[in-house]
Chain length 106, copies 3
């Protein structure tokens, strides 16, 4: 059975911090602590725009500071309840939301 849901996605640099933690770890732990049912983190291979300083593509190819993407899917209400907080925590990067239909299996 599919129901209305929302995808929250964060594009961020792997080096980004929230407090003393890597930002992506901080966010995954936050989503888990708040009871979001699942979260998936991907590491990109190149990119730009995730940081204050925009690297050239050639530099990024040899950089260890890779782009990270974090996906969280839940009901619209649940995602909207956290999205402003997430945006405020992310110092440099991009936060997007998308409407989805979802079917989750436990």
């Amino acid at each position: 059975m599919f129901s209305d849901g929302m995808l929250l996605r964060v594009y961020i640099a792997e080096s980004a911090k929230i407090g003393k933690k890597p930002a992506y770890k901080y966010l995954v732990e936050m989503f888990k602590a708040r009871g979001f049912p699942g979260c998936t983190v991907f590491r990109g291979m190149i990119g730009y725009g995730h940081e204050k300083t925009i690297h050239t593509v050639d530099v990024l190819n040899f950089s260890m500071d890779l782009p990270i993407v974090i996906d969280v899917v839940d009901t619209k209400d649940r995602i909207l309840s956290i999205v402003d907080e997430v945006e405020q925590l992310v110092e440099h990067g991009l936060v997007i939301t998308q409407d989805v239909k979802m079917g989750r299996k436990r």
Copy 2:
């Protein structure tokens, strides 16, 4: 030329099985056998919620059971014709659909 389409995305654990096969291989082969024009599989770096047992983030960091995401894009009718079957095959995980505009080149 762009036309209306639909993205089907499956979030699943790499260890998940359908029958005796890794679930992601089973699904890719099924999509191909049914004539879907393309399919892309990504491996995430960490996550939770793709399995029955929810691991802590720290455990997942050192785990070989990584999250997998499978994307398939086709017409809305074609995706809707398979989405319930996919959801039933996926024992633990998440299946979402999203409306897209698509332009496919062969």
Copy 3:
């Protein structure tokens, strides 16, 4: 603050070329040269349909020609201004767009 935006995503083979360059590098450099604020490239683990010749899954497992996905997010107007050009540059593969809400931090 979230505003309306659009996600442009390109699914392509890692081996694909535009001119003499790898297509994904060509596209990232093009997006950067045109002033798009960010771009993220991911390498998939298996897939089919990104190339003229459709490989079997088993072949792809051992292939070095992996699927690549490129995400770019900007205003709808900005994305629509480039999407036809991108589709024409991509010889084999898939280009999709999706409406999103976005909050970008610099």
